[in-house]
Amino acid sequence: MKISTKWLSDYVNVDVEPQVLAEKIERTAVEVDEVYRLEDGLKKIVVGETLKVAAHPNSDHLHICQVDVGEDEPLQIICGAPNIAAHKKVIVALPNSRIAGNVKIKRGKMRGEVSEGMICALQEIGFTEGVVPKKFVDGIYFLPDNAEPGKPVYPYLGMDEDIIDLDVTPNRADMLSMRGTAYEIAAIYNKKVSLPHLEVKESTKDNVADYLKLKADTELASTYLMRLIKNVTVKESPLWLQKRLWNAGVRPLNNIVDVTNYVLMDYGQPLHSFDYGKINGNNITVRLAKAGEILTTLDEQERELDEHDIVIADDKGPIALAGTMGGQSTEIDGGTTTVALEAAVFNSSLIRKTARRHNLHSEASMRFERGVNRATVAEALNTAAQLIADLGEGEIVSGVAEGSLEATTPVEVSISLDKINKVLGTDLTIDIVADIFKRLEFGVEINKNVFTVSVPPRRWDISIPADLIEEVARIYGYDNLPATLPKGELTPGHYNYTQKIIRETRQLLEAAGLTQAVSYGLTTTAKAQRFLMQPSEATQLSFPMSSDRTTARMNLISGLLDDIAYNVARKVKNIAFYEQGRVFYREKGTERPVEVEHVAGALTGLFETATWHNTKTPVDFYLTKGIVEHLLHTLGVTENIRYVQANGHEEMHPGRTADVYVGNEFLGFLGEIHPNIAKEYHIERTYIFELDLKKIITMPKQLEIYTPISKYPAITRDVALAVNKSIQNSEIVSCIRKNGGKNLAKVELFDVYEGEHIAVNFKSLAYKLTYQNKKTTLLDEDVSKDFAKVVAELKKEFDAEIR
């Protein structure tokens, strides 16, 4: 809502700078988007009179104009506007002036002729296209004939008025009007409003009942009124009215429509004017549309209606979409002589739906959606009727046609002083609070510290005690509230176990060298369905915004691969990411997905780059596995972990993927992504892991208990064996453990070798076995005996050659 402080000053007199007023409004009522004057940024724009207009010899559309700008000599200005004419008052941008968009106008030559400035259209001095009167949209603007050449144009056009643009919250629709805003400003500054009330002069020749019979369903229109103005002349509005409209952001059209828009801004009451001559019959009905009914609205759109649209209908059918847009068939035009003027209160939720369905959001529909002041519907109608009669030299038919009329009474709300102070944390007195209600022009009665407040209908947002507390708080001033912290019973603040593990997991992975990524939770169905750890249906949006974001993710890896691809495309090639977040698994036949906390990682390129000091470390399966092992171990998952060769993941390298189990519980998987996937993302070999963090959290953990460090020395033995390549390390280790004897404390793999000196299809593995006893010093012979047994078993079981 654009508030002109000049207009406002007609209603309430606060003598403060617009910036100060805006700041006060912002702190007390609603947000302010901007404070400005249309003249801001303009320089040397003056009134000019076109003394002579001659065709340009070298152009078929330019004119050479001699323009009086109040100097001794007229200026020669070249003008290309189609509507240029002699003896008109025009807007002149003098040499070295500044027009809209910070454009500087200089003396120059156009096709060989000197041009000392520019004759301007309204758009060129900062008017938005949408508020320029239609007849001046494609040409220059003509100022009133009495404009004085050489004087700045701003006052003639209202461009010197200060405009405060309010961003009105849905609850404060009372401030979508000049009058409502005036009440608010008066309350803030402790002033009184003085609002003019135009008296209606009715013609007594006939009565509106002779012309109109209204019928309105009160569910659809709680108030529905009409007046009739006869013998009007449709023409341009006077400039004062046009100025008020364009300063409010509305395009002037003609005196009838302009009056309805003016009253809309003044009272916040939407009105609609019909050409009475085009209405079929005398009966106007407010009803729901029938499915399939067609109405061509003012914007020339043919609209198919349904039974949720409220329409205004005459004997033949709909003539307007109530509260949103009129119909073309009854539009006011140059030939209109009788105007049927409507003022109503329509059902807000139906208007809201209609506006949405037909995408017809207008100043009127917005006010009906948010509510209008029920107490001034008739007054707004009368004011508009009188203005139309005045400006169109018409006469008002006596009487108001009534389809429905809602009685308005103030709402009473009670609240105690104690409650106010208890909620606000203040020590306000009875007097302070009573004064606030009085400033708001609410009725107030006080009885033993209880206020009974009677709220006028113009503040329909107030209905419960909490609403009154807000009024007190904001007028008293939020700056005046003390700042304290909640007192009362102490409560412990700590993460729960799940939250703690999730945060530990993040820190562990960061310490392990992975950087946290936060990717999008919504992706394509195809990407959502990859890297699945369990069967799941996709959870899809019913109206996605883009085809890239249609489905809730069921894995974290797809998002991480998107991230890697984004980096690789920007020449960042060494990446180590992890992400912790939720995946959405949905069972067939259910609507709601289950949300499971997962953790995943993705690594590509070099884990560590070569430095002058160190060699490079490329990422690989075992580096990735090391991270997984470290994570699980540190989170207390230490027993029965198995890494099982897995070739069943479609998106993974079949030879380089392992499923991770704890006992028989599947935790997740790790490995290299399939070359086809890498190719699709245009990335190099990439290693990933994804684990079900929820399972890790709920899994029983090994309690950490201190084991005394053995005082007795350990003895080690090394064994290197050549075995068939297909034999896995895990098999050998479990064979060693099984046959190692009671003193075998540790088995470590320290070398893996293939190539020279080893038969084709064979590999060499070397292990260090550590023997230790907690109670005694081991004898070399005992260890040798145990070791020999292991070696023999290895030979036997794997057909191993001991090297």
């Binding site: 702190r27 007390t28 009522a29 609603v30 947000e31 849905p170 609850n171 404060r172 739906k353 208890k422 909620v423 606000l424 944390g425 005690p465 909490a466 507390i469 807000e470 904001r474 939020y478 509230l481 003390p482 700042a483 304290t484 912290l485 909640p486 009362g488 409560t491 603040g493 729960n496 939250q499 945060r503 992975l509 960061e510 060298g513 992975l514 950087t515 946290q516 936060v518 999008y520 939770g521 919504l522 959870t539 899809q540 949006l541 019913s542 109206f543 974001r549 991230d563 980096n567 920007r570 960042v572 977040g581 939720r582 959405f584 609507e591 949300e595 430095t611 002058w612 000091h613 160190n614």
Partner: protein
């Protein structure tokens, strides 16, 4: 030549030899040669047997003196050699300390998580619980329980990704509050919670809009919670995130689930309230919304609004991070450009 003269000559030769010795090995062999059982001093002492009895003590003490002198000369020289040796070694071991250190391989938290962590820690310290809730939410909890019935005009303020008529991607984390309020047992104390997490809006992504972002909503319900308590709490958030000198101001606003509702501005940390591009020359930056919990919200959750009341606030870690670090495109947070993420490595 008498014994004494012999000893004196011996001493002088030996001292010369000692003081020119260059390494420990040499000094050791000098020591063994001079002072050992077969050494010249022992030899001289043995020769004392041939001396008259009365001369023996004199010569004996002289010999002991010589021996002591040589012993300490050896010790001194030894120390000297060691000092030389060490300083030589130190000299040789000199390195170029300006060569770069070996980089520590460390990852780091995402910038938004850093903001969330910071705020979580503040509130844990004040006895709040951190409560998580589903990202796929019911319309009932996301809207209706927040005093936003189906036709409510404020529903236009947030466009929603619906999954079915009843299910949606949550547009705020306040449904977590509704769920927690329903369950909370007030006989066990007040409810003090924050709910951080991802939220979704049906928006087209651009520099200032993202269909996914984060929120932290806070809620306190007890018997004597005041708006002044809200103001103090908000001041603490502003100062924790944006610096100790920050001031806040509250402006009236509208949220269906609070009454009164306020918008909260923090004094500009870039210009200290003087006016700059960050604060659009106002000196203030809008950072969050808050208010006193609407009685309808309490009633819907089965809480007696005559006895209990409280405050709620909601803030956007994305917005906080953008403001704090001068990030001008919200999409950066979710594209995960390593060069972007790595810029925010300072903690604390």
């Amino acid at each position: 030549m008498g014994l004494k003269d012999k000893l004196t000559e011996l001493k002088e030769n030996a001292l010369k030899e000692i003081n020119t010795a260059e390494d420990l090995k040499k000094i050791n062999s000098i020591r063994v040669n001079l002072l050992g059982k077969k050494g010249p001093i022992t030899e001289v002492l043995r020769g004392m047997r041939d001396l008259p009895k009365e001369e023996r003590p004199n010569v004996g003490s002289f010999a002991n003196k010589v021996r002591d002198e040589l012993t300490s000369a050896i010790a001194e020289r030894k120390e000297r050699i060691e000092i030389i040796k060490i300083s030589k070694r130190l000299e040789e071991e000199k390195i170029d300390v300006t060569l770069p250190g070996v980089p520590v391989k460390a990852g780091q938290p995402h910038i938004i998580m850093q903001v969330i962590d910071q705020i979580e820690k503040l509130f844990l310290g004040m006895g709040y619980q951190v409560v998580d809730g589903p990202e796929v939410e019911e319309d009932h909890y996301n809207f209706e329980m927040m005093n936003l019935p189906k036709d409510h005009p404020a529903r236009d303020m947030q466009d929603t990704f619906y999954i079915t008529d009843k299910l949606l991607m949550r547009t705020q984390t306040s449904p977590v509050q509704a769920r927690t309020m329903e369950k909370h047992d007030f006989s066990k104390g007040p409810l003090k919670m924050i709910s951080p997490g991802k939220v979704y809006r049906r928006d087209t992504d651009d520099a200032t809009h993202s269909h996914q972002f984060h929120q932290i909503e806070g809620l306190v319900i007890d018997k004597n919670i005041t708006m002044a308590d809200l103001k103090g709490t908000l001041q603490l958030i502003a100062r924790t995130v944006f610096g100790e000198e920050r001031e806040i101001r509250l402006r009236p606003s509208y949220f269906p689930f609070t009454e009164p509702s306020v918008e909260v501005d923090v004094s500009c940390f870039k210009c200290n309230g003087q006016g700059c591009s960050v604060c659009k020359n106002t000196g203030w930056i809008e950072v969050l919304g808050a208010g006193m919990v609407h009685p309808n919200v309490l009633k819907m959750s089965g809480i007696d609004a005559d006895i209990y009341g409280g405050f709620a606030f909601g803030l956007g870690p994305d917005r906080f991070a953008m403001l704090k670090y001068g990030v001008d495109d919200i999409r950066e947070f979710y594209l995960n450009d390593v060069r972007f993420l790595k810029q925010f490595s300072q903690r604390g």
